[in-house]
Amino acid sequence: MINQPSSWWPQVTQSAAERPLISMLVFIFILGMLGVWSLLAADPSPIKSDMMSLVYETGSDTVREAALTRMRNLSNQQQLWIVSHPDRDIAFTAAESISGKLAASDLFYSNGLASGSLNQTALTEFYADHPFQLADDETLRAAEGKNFAPLISAVERALYSNARFFPASALQDDPFLLRNNFLAALRNIPPPFVFDRGRLAAKLDDRWTFLLPLHLKRSAFDFENQERLGIFTAAVTRDLKGTYPKVKVDTIGVIDFASVNRKLAIREVSLIGSVSLLMVTLLLFSAFRHPRAYLAVIFTIATALLGGCFASLISFGSVHLLTLIGGSTLVGISVDYAFHFLADRYRQGDGPWRALDTINHVTPTAAMGLATSVLGFFGLWSSGFRGLQEIAVFSASGLIVAFSTLVLAYPLLLAGWRPASNPPFVLRLAQSWRAHWSAGPRTLWLLAGASALLFLSAPPLVVSTDVRPLAADTPAINKLAAQSTTFTARLTDSRFIIVRAGDQERLLQREEELRIHLDALKEDGSITQFQQLARFVPSIRRQQATIDLNKSLYLAPGQAITELSERIGLDPRVADSQRTALRENPSPSSLSLTDWLKSPVSKPLRYLWLGEVEGGVASIVTLSGVHNANALHSRIDPLASVSVVDYIADMSGAFGLYVLNAVKGLAIALALVAALMVYRFGLAAGIITLLGPVLSGLLTITWLLFLGEAINLFHIVGLAIILGMGMDYTLFLKAGGCAPSAALAVLLGAITTECAFGLLGLSALGGLSSFGTTVAIGTAISFLVAPLAAGPAHTASVH
């Protein structure tokens, strides 16, 4: 039997039983104070839906984290509207028609509605002050070694090629087309995209697709913003369909993912909560047949959920939708204590319910059950994964509040309650189960041996650290993911490069060196495009080299300009004018990165500049269409002060760390529970008590392996819950001994828990599905194994 509680506890329970109204008021006051505290601690938008915000960064590299935050914020604020039609002109016209409405809407910044590219006019005007410092890579390569014959040939061929653009007047200012080619290099866009009438377009799957990149004014995770945008999108699409029935309009952005996930979460929370509540209602009425009992349980559920929310707000400032879904299973767990309390009524026999007797009888075991559950949630907490930590805090706090209701609220809520005159069917069922399904420790050890054999014969254990379990698997999400791969990743891949250096000049030089490698990767098809600061602002070293090149072309003996003039028949006055300009100002001022960053032309690309960090400076180089990540890494990784950031791979790496932490946390929780059991029951009985939940966990994993599941983080933290639940069942059955009331409570608790986690197992969110499936299987096994671990029951009769 459970040991007697410490001396202060009987005083608390006696006071609560004798002054039910005061104890209820104390409970409400404490909960109210927690509510006020949580309101003070809560963020302005306390409900979150950003999945990525659940993952703590694990590294200590502040530059990398700053870059990740920059890229994530940028991505969060963007939305891409996709207008497509088989006919190019109709698709364009439809896109134009929509763009007017988008510009007029207050949902987006209107300047984001341009082509999504740089403002070419402003850009060319900006470079006008630096006529001799700008040249493209190809031209500089052609002029290497002061042998200008290849350069002259290239210029001559370019003049005759319709695949090169230069206005006729360009030759007047730039006969070698150095600046012309520099500006052309800035215009390049990654295939398969083209610019058509000022808009980004692509032909995909025999449809012409025009892209309208937009910048959201408000957060993608703002629910009101999501709602307004949804209504706006539907209205615009409807209007457009009226004019162009075959036009398709799609949108891609973090806001679209967030919106779909939010709707999914609301649906799942409603479903799990409602079905759990319905199941609880049915069980309550069949077992206790009294509205007062029902009221007490609803009170427990409601206050447990409130307590969970308050604790999350106090701890994290917000409650995530994932937490609400995971925490909605709290409905199933929190009622367990209420069931034990109510079932104890059948132990008391006839007459009105005696609060103090029940409290004294149930709470010691419930407290130990609570301790083991909280230790189980400690396993979740120690995973390091923010999402699971939130669920752990939410659920542990909810359970503590649920436990508190037993002592502080139930004396008032159940005052004067009498049991049903006839024993309910479920009580008889529970009694029968307890009486027949129990055996000695030998059976349990035999079962343990069989389980171990089964585990050894199961398919090999594969641990998955894939980040994708986070994502929901629904048609809407899959469609968004496919579109994201088609469009967004081709424009800006999730992988990018961080470049670091001591100062701006060295940074630009390093980017120029990096460009050689990136061009090679482009050449072999490993990537399609990249964007970097050094494209727009050459290093001073390179600018000086370009000035020197111009001097060689125009001023050096045997000038190249003379040969070019002869070959193409250039007016001598053009060469004279260039010579004069170079002689009058032989050392023109350099174009600096600081000036460029201050200029409005840099606005769309300023995110590439990370600024001063850790005693130096850093920048981002974005990539488009990464087709061969291995080639990218093998080329870039050896470079000094340059690192590829692969967000998805890093997340998976972090998940691997979380898995390790979760296993450690589980081991710690198991050790603590074992110590508690040995302390309470002695070595042999303690081990036997613990064996039930351990066996449940082992059989659950074996089952999952036979199902072909790769074990992920969510499976492992599910084991922590199984430990808590299994201990609960065993302890209550052990404490209840021959009393059928304990068996009834365990049976009711198992059914509701099974229902809650079974529903969670059907969740479209892969991680939660793994979690729910694991706990559902584990709970069922725990329920079956608990009587074996609790020891044989004596024959008992129902009062």
């Binding site: 006019t121 006008a128 006529p131 319709n162 653009f165 206005p167 006729a168 007047q172």
Partner: protein, 203 residues
């Protein structure tokens, strides 16, 4: 004029020049309904599959025009501009992307052209070659000139935008049974003349 100012002017001109080709395509089917029936007839009559071309680019600062020649092969979606003289340079347009294929000393090099301006210009040229006046008309006012023979036709394309008109006042396209001539006038008296001959009909 200081070089900085010259470059600024040059850049503006570049942009305006490009804008013409962007502008000429803007508008879509809203305006397509206004197409002159004569144009529609013309669109049907000018289709051909191949022709010889002779291109002269007259630039004032050059003592002689940039002359090139070769053949153009037109397909449903694009065209191959196979320049053989003075250099072998092919421009291959499939309606979406452009490849530049060059041969230097027996060595062939193919490169994808990613410059959106070239892409816009190439598409405009394709619309002219394929006689898709309804698409061209979106950005240009199309005037039909009286010719000496009823069998011949001659259109003057005037950019609708006043600013663009200041840089490229007009484009002329002319022909008889087929498109024979394209003349693009640039600023300062510069112009490009493309003459087509030896058309092979679209069977």
């Amino acid at each position: 004029m200081p070089p900085a100012k010259q470059i600024s002017r040059f850049c503006r001109r570049c942009l305006l020049f490009v804008s013409i080709f962007a502008y000429c395509l803007i508008g879509g089917h809203v305006k397509a309904g206004q197409t002159n029936p004569t144009h529609s007839q013309r669109e049907e009559s000018v289709r051909f599959t191949a022709a010889e071309f002779h291109q002269n680019r007259h630039i004032k600062v050059l003592a002689r025009p940039l002359v090139s020649s070769g053949t153009v092969e037109l397909s449903e979606r694009g065209f191959d501009w196979k320049q053989t003289a003075p250099y072998e340079i092919w421009l291959i347009y499939d309606g979406t992307s452009i490849l530049e294929r060059t041969r230097i000393g027996g060595q062939e090099t193919t490169k994808e052209v990613l410059d959106p301006i070239v892409n816009g210009l190439t598409r405009t040229l394709f619309l002219m070659l394929s006689g898709s006046l309804s698409s061209i008309e979106i950005g240009f006012e199309i005037q039909q000139q009286v010719t000496d023979s009823t069998a011949n036709w001659h259109y003057v394309l005037i950019p609708r935008d006043v600013e663009i008109r200041g840089i490229i006042p007009r484009i002329e396209i002319a022909g008889g049974r087929y498109l024979d001539r394209i003349r693009v006038e640039e600023s300062q008296g510069n112009f490009t003349l493309i003459e087509l001959s030896g058309h092979r009909p679209n069977e």
